[in-house]
Symmetry: C2
C-alpha cells in the first residue's frame, strides 16, 4: 500500500491485514511509517518499506498517495514493479477551489487512466476503493456495509481486484467494466462529498439496489 | 410531463398521478398520447395536450423527451412557460457507439446546464429522475425502493423537486447541491447501465448508506 500511512491507505492496509493478507506499507519515510504501524496495535503484522522496495515486493500494489503525488511515486516505482503486478488506483483528483468540490480535469479521462499511462506496460491497472470514505475505512472497527466499485483494464484485473474487495468485511465488489468507467466512479466520490456536506453526515456511501 | 408517452415520462406521469398530482402529458401528437393514457387505465385521470399547451398549463414541467429532442421542444415551449415555473430535467445524453455506453460531451457541462441555458430566464431548473430505471418507473406496481438524486439552480428549486420525488412511493430524495452536480448524476446513470449489462440485471439503482 503506497501511501499507507494516510487515512485511506491506512484503512485499506489494516482491513486487508485483518482479512489475512500480508501487507507492506510503502512510504517516503519508512521509519515514520513503522511508528504509525506501531500505533495501530494491529492484530496482524504490517511491514513498512520505502516506495520502491514495497513496489518490488508486491503482486498487488495499492496506489493510495494523493493524486498530486502519483506521478512522482509512479516514476520512482515503475522500474521496480513486478511483471504482471496489479496496480489498484484509489486516487480521486479533487479540488476545493471556490468553496465547492469539483473533479480536476484529467487529460486521459480519469485518474486511473492517467495512472495506467504511467505505470509501465507490464503492470495491470484497476480502479477501486475510490468511494468508501477514508475516515470510515480507517476507523477499522466500524462496519462498512456498502458496495465498492471496480473497473479495470481487463476482466482478469477486475476479477482479482473484486476478490480483494470482497475479502474486506462488509464490502461487496461491483464490477462496472473497463478502466474508462473510473471517471464515473470518481463522480460518485464527488457526489458523496457533496452529500456529506449538505446533509451534515460523514460517511455517505453507496449501495446498488437490484443487484 | 413533456414526452410523457415514453417509458420514463410515462412512468413519472403515472406515479405522480397516483401520488395525487394533477398530470398533463405534453406530446407532439396529443391524440396518440390520449390513446396511450387510455391504455394505462390509470386510477387517477391524466390529460394530454401539445407541448406548448402543456407547458403553459403547468407550474412544474418535467422534460422527459430524448436529450436529442430537447433543444427543439425547449425552443417551442420557451415563450409558453409560466413565470417562475420549475423545469425538471430528467434527460441523460447517452451514446452507444462502439458497443459501449458513454455520456455525450455537453458544452455546458451537463444535460441539465444545457437545458438551463435554453429554458428562459424566468424558468427555474432542477435535475432529477435521472437514475431510476425507465422500465422500472413505467412498471408502476413494482416498488422503487431506492434513492433519487436532486440538484438545482437554487435551494428553493431543489426543495420543490425533492418534495415531488418524495411524493412518489418508494423514492427518497437526496439533495446533492447546485445544478453543476447534474453531470455526476448522469455518470450514475451510465454506471447503472453498465452494471445492468455486466451483471445481467435490469433495474440497478442507488441507495445512499450513512444518510
Amino acid at each position: 500500500v503506497l501511501g499507507g500511512s494516510g487515512q485511506q491507505g491506512g484503512g485499506i492496509a489494516r482491513r486487508l491485514a485483518r482479512a489475512g493478507r500480508r501487507v507492506i506499507i510503502g512510504s517516503r519515510d519508512p521509519a515514520r511509517a513503522a511508528q504509525t504501524i506501531e500505533s495501530w496495535r494491529a492484530s496482524a503484522p504490517i511491514e513498512s518499506a520505502g516506495y520502491t522496495d514495497a513496489a518490488a515486493a508486491a503482486d498487488v500494489v495499492v496506489l493510495a498517495v494523493p493524486f498530486s503525488s502519483a506521478d512522482g511515486v509512479l516514476e520512482a516505482c515503475r522500474p521496480h514493479f513486478r511483471r504482471g503486478a496489479l496496480l489498484l488506483d484509489v486516487t480521486v483528483p479533487l479540488t476545493f477551489e471556490s468553496g465547492t468540490a469539483a473533479l480536476v480535469p484529467v487529460a486521459e479521462g480519469s485518474a486511473s487512466e492517467h495512472v495506467k499511462a504511467r505505470a509501465g506496460a507490464d503492470v495491470r491497472v484497476a480502479a477501486t476503493f475510490k468511494t468508501v470514505p477514508a475516515q470510515l475505512l480507517n476507523d477499522i472497527d466500524r462496519p462498512l456495509d456498502c458496495d465498492e466499485f471496480v473497473c479495470g483494464d481487463s476482466a482478469e484485473s477486475r476479477t482479482e481486484a473484486a476478490a480483494l474487495i470482497a475479502a474486506v468485511a462488509g464490502l461487496r465488489a461491483v464490477d462496472v467494466g473497463p478502466l474508462q468507467r473510473a471517471r464515473s466512479i470518481e463522480h460518485l466520490t464527488l457526489l458523496a462529498i457533496g452529500i456529506n456536506r449538505r446533509h451534515k453526515v460523514h460517511d455517505a456511501r453507496f449501495r446498488i439496489v437490484g443487484l
